[in-house]
Amino acid sequence: MSPGQPRRFDWHRAALWSVLALFALFFLLPMYVMVTTSLKDMAQIRDGNLLSLPTAPSLAAWSTAWSSACTGVDCGGLKPFFINSVIMVVPAVLVSTMLGAINGYVLSKWRFRGSETMFALMLFGVFMPMQVVLLPMSQVLGWLGIANSIGGLVLVHVIAGLPSTTLFFRNYYVGLPDELVKAAMLDGAGFWRIFWRIVLPLSTPITVVTLIWQFTNIWNDFLYGIVFSGAGSKPVTVGLNNLANTSSVVKEYNVDMAAAMIAGLPTLFVYIVAGKYFVRGLTAGAVKG
């Protein structure tokens, strides 16, 4: 529309916005219910109006969920589980992303006989159902002596994440001109120096994508968390499950909702902070790969 033209009501645009608003509402409604319920007291919840705003908003349920709600026989809230998750997620995300970057660098810029086959085989890992590895992995963790520990979970998540991180970085690096690597070789840089000084500094978008991807997957994982963790190493998803399934005299919906919010907030936070990189990086990779 040229600036001089008078603005007319655009039916097409109005329809588009209405549909978008409707879908946004549809997807945000559960979130709204969770947040409002977590701020209500049990008396108001028993009134039964799911959509009403809290009459006396309070963070009491959040505080209970964090530090004193019962999960089974322990009544220490989600806090220990949350801490376990943090201790597990940080190294698992960093290590799997780093290894994925190195793998992608080798598979795109230092091809060798059979490297394409190796990449194709690694792709199986992206599509392989998680359940397949449960038994062999528990065997391996047992041999390594890290069964039921956070260290064991980190290892599982690093291995499970490698195919995806490798795929992301490899497809991104295919788009980097080979001549950059050749020029650096002529300049006297070796394998690692080219990686650290040239390739990695050019990887910001795909690194952010991979970090978000891995963080979300590992933080939200429940299956590996429940199978491979021990008493002191359960991640927050398992904690939330136990909390919600622990029956007391009354079902405290506000505490359940607050706990679910606590468990979900880190991924939400990561998306909000780095989301624009995520979209940008995904499309960049898609076009170039």
Binding site: A183, G188, A189, L202
Partner: protein
């Protein structure tokens, strides 16, 4: 001992021979051009010299040292790529000094080298910029600066001007020539542009299908092309080549006699060729009152000279005449040439007879 010796270098990729035995000796300070159509193996040869590709057999010596199996970084060479391959994450100064940094040259020396090179290439005001903020010509300069900073024994250029527009290409061509004259570093320069080849090279290697068809000075290549391919590849518009049979007093095409001088007749008889190719450069043809009759079918004025396509009894011939052409399309003309301008090739081997 030359600055660069390539001896019987072959390269095949899974049964496909890309280079079929290349032998080149390059003297110190010489500017050698590798020219040829795409797929002729010139870039592969350059990569083998650089160490970015390995020869299937044969040896490469740089400054008397066998570097056939040496790593690129141990060859003391610098290369300018077609895409420039500047490091996007570093500024211009960082790009220029990266090679020195990798070779553990102290900071002060690096800074001095950057200043020296920047001054030489007039890019002092760009040192803090990132490659993304530079124009094509400026990137080209930085790429050359990166190569110059290290004082290598050998410069390699891989079609460095093909991403520039026509005007800038001519400017940079002149600049490369001046730089080479000033620095006197042995240079191997790959191009598919025959004008670049003729203007820049001390010697030119014309390549086709993995073989050097001819290696010589620009004058030798232009005046005495060794094969039909070289004759047609170098020169624009391309040389007129007519199929002709030996006949009494010379050769004949479609029954029309084409003149040869005594020496050419002697060479033809000695060669025993039964079919020949009679080549005439467009500028060898001139319009005259008498000669080979024909009709002008197309006129292409370029300003300083005019190309005229003339339909004759022996085939279509392109003539290149200085200035404007007075004749118009459809005019009946006569073409004349001197036998000293004739290039005669054996039609079977396509090699030069005289």
């Amino acid at each position: 001992m030359g600055a660069l010796s390539i001896r019987n270098v072959r390269r095949s990729y899974g049964g496909v021979d890309v280079l079929k035995g290349i032998d080149v000796e390059v003297e110190a300070g010489e500017f050698l051009i590798l020219v040829g159509p795409s797929g002729c193996g010139k870039s592969t040869l350059l990569n083998i010299i650089a160490g970015l590709d390995v020869a299937t057999s044969g040896t490469v010596h740089i400054a008397g040292r066998d570097v056939t199996h040496a790593l690129p970084k141990d060859r003391d060479i610098a290369m300018v790529f077609q895409s420039y391959a500047l490091y996007p994450n570093m500024n211009v100064a960082g790009n220029i000094s990266f090679g020195l940094e990798m070779r553990n040259v102290p900071r002060a020396e690096r800074d001095a080298a950057v200043q020296r090179v920047a001054k030489m290439l007039q890019i002092e005001h760009l040192l803090d910029r990132k490659p993304g903020q530079l124009s094509g010509g400026q990137r080209q300069r930085v790429a050359m600066g990166r190569a110059l900073a290290r004082n290598p024994v050998l410069f390699l250029f891989d079609e460095p001007l093909s991403n520039l527009d026509a005007k800038l290409r001519v400017e940079m061509r002149a600049e490369i020539k001046q730089l080479h004259r000033a620095a006197q570093v042995t240079t191997v320069y790959v191009t598919h542009d025959q004008v670049e080849a003729m203007t820049l090279g001390d010697r030119i290697a014309v390549m086709k299908a993995g073989v050097i068809e001819q290696l010589g000075t620009p004058d030798e290549i232009y005046d005495r092309p060794a094969t039909r391919f070289v004759a047609e590849f170098i020169g624009s518009p391309a040389m007129n080549v007519l199929a002709a049979e030996p006949a009494s007093g010379g050769v004949a095409a479609r029954g029309i006699g084409l003149p040869l001088d005594d020496a050419q007749r002697g060479a033809l008889a000695a060669s025993g060729a039964t079919a020949t190719l009679y080549g005439l450069r467009p500028e060898a043809l001139s319009f005259a009152d008498a000669g080979l009759p024909g009709t002008v079918t197309m006129i292409e004025p370029t300003g300083p000279e005019t190309y005229a396509l003339v339909d004759t009894a022996v085939g279509k011939l392109t003539a290149r005449v200085p200035g404007r052409l007075r004749a118009s399309t459809g005019a009946a003309v006569a073409l004349r040439w001197s036998t000293s301008e004739v290039h005669l090739f054996d039609a079977r081997t396509e090699r030069r007879i005289a």
